[in-house]
Symmetry: D2
């Protein structure tokens, strides 16, 4: 059994790792870290875990943790994982960081968008961006995984084959994304109260959301050059789910067949990416609770743009599910182990 | 592998059986029956099943089905299962009926509350009421299971130990229940449109809901005599979940300790019933997606009444999960097999 | 024009008073009090008020306020209004207190249920319980109005005629109430976050909710003696609305006609109470945004109990609307002035 | 008093006209038309109207109606109004058509996107596109008003000043719009059931939604030439509200000041358009129940695109409110009469 520790186990993403690992046949959680709820029974914080988790929340001593476990998941605010990691720890355990600390290779870009000084820039290069379907091989041998963001997983996977194959002009890419409210975290803020979110939709982080440079960097690799995109997230009155609607101009002469072939080339054999039949488009309800990403698209011949729709569950494929998928790859397990959920509907 | 067929696989309860059985290690579905969507790919009706279910919907020929499978689930309107079942079929397969056809032993009561003539009253006595925690032994040897209703499972389990032990006066029992909207089914009705249900709560079936006699019969067995209760269901703007708030007068001199001991006596070893710690009360969010029933209670010393709260997921323990639990018992499997879900939150 | 001041104008109830008074033809707000948002533009806190309210939030100096206005609404936590009120203030302005400070005549009962020492018990007797349809005459001449609670308005009005006429046994009264989440206030608490409330229903304050003694006192007046009831509130995933489901045993021989006549006797001419046609029951969607209370009922001849349903908008008739209705009475206006809203649906 | 008749009064838009006109000081409804609910009490269909509307639903005989009223609102499916209108009727009454029949001047474009033959193309030229803030003068003298669509009102108003002033390249315009579910109508369809819409977001009508040519025509007038845009609507789990997120490339050298001045030039004196302070962006919760359109924007200097956000209530400014605004203009009333609602929050 893989022994796992979680730093930040009482946020929504951390709790989803708990939900998944409690039924993972090859892993067990031995450390439920939580700064806010230290010494409280985990099941008193997340009462769905009554009779399932007996443990109490523990502190976040990474040195001690590194001796106790095989893999550490950090589901914590920006900067924390980077401030804790060091050579000794990395020599003992695998780290899967769900924060943004190691996602962006250019530390100046990271520091500009996140407004903090990176505490351990020396590990940025070593870290592997854990977008499983794209970087599977590099993930397998890594010590430190930068688990992708929820919006970015959805956004990048949606258009990756088209950028990679040069079928769209990446500088025309506009991503209009919509997320359920669990993405806003479990902090007690007026803006996230039920009555403030319910019966409303809003954009936020317009032109300034931190997932923008992450998308630009990864799609830039695919394009072979730097690109700039517009990314606009929206808050939707639902618990889970991200829908990304992406717009881009097709390169001259590109046909629907070419688009279809590109998607099949990259994703045709991917278990967790479902290319929908022509004419069907993703909806978040069809992926809820699962690790799937659903992708569909339409070409507008009038404007020669393609509209690409991608949908995933922000807490599963957008966070905890992909983190466990990375764990499975790191430890040589079948990638689906413990995350092969059928989407829950309704 | 147990071969299963589902009649009515494209309702919400039927689809939940599909969701569960597609990952059940000892069962497989070989017949997806649906009158409404016959010959259509199942995954085109429930698109969460894309890449998971390849089959097309089939008709509802029970004779043919009986030759093809080991167990038939009927998730159909009242009267259908009773009109199809016969000795030859029962000699070949187990039937787990999610409708009310075989739940009520007194055919006159059934016909009065349901307003239809029972097509096969001769099988009522044979049928076992599939409330697993209460009737486990009888279920094991049955051919025909009457799977309990969603409200009734929650209502009966909530107060069963207190009625059985004579700690409350059953004639004072008032059950005020609240259900998510999946309980209203997938039929296209104005009353169930999003805008009609959202931002509202209502009672329905007041003094006349058909789950009333089912509750009265089962709790009457526990009481050892006929009882009458008030049962009022309400429709709540959420997808899943039932919360039953039950009120009853304590018998003279009954103490909190006696109440606690009664619950522990009957449920202390039950995996799927979680007796909450004193002071905690159930909420539907903590059981969503799981087969658990959570139970908590408070005594009001001023009025000498007990208020009992029970919560479950109406599509799992209230329908499909309990149906599979019954299947597990019928086929000698560990009762938890394939239904040991961690509740999904948020 | 009546000059109005609001202490606590940035809570949900306070903001609803603002919404109503900004279109009231005979009143204007000259003081938007808010401890939390002092000196901030009101419209930056409640952005629906952009271009409608120009004022900034002011402090809560009641002495200064008493010189500036004709009526003060206090929409504040328990104990605040009672700690500010004095003879000089009452000699200058009318006070409509939306907190519970002056609702309960027996100060010992208040202090027991609220757990605080009452700061000004001498005004309790003078205060008039502002349930307009019951106490209209006393309200007209009052200086200090105790505006009823949201649950209590719904609960008391639902069964008042039956208690008053002796048609039900008040000691059998059980009130199971369900409220939208705006009733929980705008404080930043984890329990009220969108993802915690959405897709769930729960009871709270079971056997201990503070609206219990308020209901008991008022219905006790109707009964002519002390009574005890069970009152259980529930939190529903919707913004607005309260539905109260009340159960009581009919006195021997009471008929449906007598029940109907009792409701008509007390409410037949009440504009804001709608007695629904026989067979129809209230739903919160039909009263949202309005000052109406809808009432319907059914008798269960099997158990000889009556089930009474009442619905209102907790922020309007349950708080701000009734407060303005009280203001209208206090100042001799037509009671409907400025609050004659058509319910908003959907 | 203006006598008004409504054809299609039992859809959501028709019912919202009823809600508004029942409190309009200068108008009264004398004909509640409804094909589906003919001869039923209106208040039995929309029970929020209990005690408010006494009338029964009437048929849709437009000739008879033309003799009885001063203005007819048609809130009906495409093609109906165009099939009923004729010279005699127009000589007697004003018609405000909420369908798309007379919105598009090019009948070929109409017939292509709507897939029906236009029954009365001769009136298309006469009809005035009732976008009040843009076409106020033409509306005043019209006989036949084509009331704009919900998405189109929001989309056109959002970018009109920038197109008109040549500050953006209209061919780069991409509009990603999100709507509450009341926009889908009150028809009984599985896709609009509570459990199908709740907890999900989806795009629909991608590259083919009928509001596209309406937006293109109106913004084309502003641009002085034909333009093509991408318009993508999404369904959001909420009752009311539209948020349109528009993306366009700024023309070379355009500054934020120029953008601000353009908005102020066209909307600075408009009562129902609220230009938000710099840094604030619209959210649908702040306009719910009102006739306001809120507009805000941000420039992304990295991509030289502007992101414009517009929000309105689809049933008010997007349908019934604007229809009454048009009525007010047609009859020489203050434009705000009867529609000056404060937004309802929460």
């Amino acid at each position: 059994m893989i022994k796992a520790g979680i730093i930040g186990s009482t946020g929504y993403a951390g709790a989803e790792i708990v939900r998944i690992l409690m039924r993972h046949p090859e892993a067990e959680i031995v450390w439920f870290g939580s700064r806010s709820y230290k010494d409280m029974p985990y099941a008193s914080v997340f009462r769905n875990m009554t009779n399932i988790v007996d443990a109490e929340c523990m502190g976040e001593n990474m040195d001690e943790l590194a001796d106790a476990v095989d893999v550490i998941f950090t589901a914590t605010p920006q900067g924390l994982c980077a401030s804790l990691v060091n050579e000794e720890i990395l020599s003992k355990v695998k780290i899967i960081d769900l924060s943004a600390d190691f996602r962006i290779k250019d530390v100046a870009v990271y520091e500009k968008w996140y407004g903090i000084t990176h505490p351990s820039p020396s590990y940025i290069n070593e870290a592997v961006y854990g977008l499983c379907e794209i970087n599977r091989k590099d993930i397998a041998g890594a010590r430190l995984i930068a688990n992708p963001g929820c919006y970015t997983t959805c956004s990048i996977l949606s258009s990756y084959p088209l950028v990679k194959e040069g079928l769209i002009d990446p500088d025309t890419l506009i991503i209009d994304a919509k997320s359920g409210t669990s993405g806003a975290g479990r902090g007690a803020k007026v803006a996230n109260l039920y009555c403030e979110v319910n019966e409303s939709i809003k954009a936020y982080g317009v032109t300034s959301h931190r997932h923008t440079p992450e998308i630009e960097e990864q799609l830039g690799y695919a394009a072979g050059r730097e690109i700039l995109v517009n990314f606009t997230p929206h808050l939707v009155p639902m618990n889970r789910g991200i829908l990304a609607t992406s717009y881009a101009s097709l390169m001259p002469g590109v046909t629907a067949d070419q688009v279809q072939q590109a998607y099949e080339k990259y994703y045709g054999n991917e278990y967790f990416i479902r290319l929908l039949p022509q004419g069907e488009l993703p909806e978040t309800r069809w992926v809820e609770g699962s690790n799937y990403v659903d992708i569909g698209w339409k070409i507008d011949p009038r404007t020669n743009r393609i509209v690409i729709l991608g949908a995933l569950d922000n807490l599963v494929k957008g966070a905890a599910g992909q983190a466990v998928q990375n764990m499975n790859i790191l430890f040589g397990l079948d990638e689906k182990t413990g995350i092969d959920f059928v989407p829950v509907f309704p």
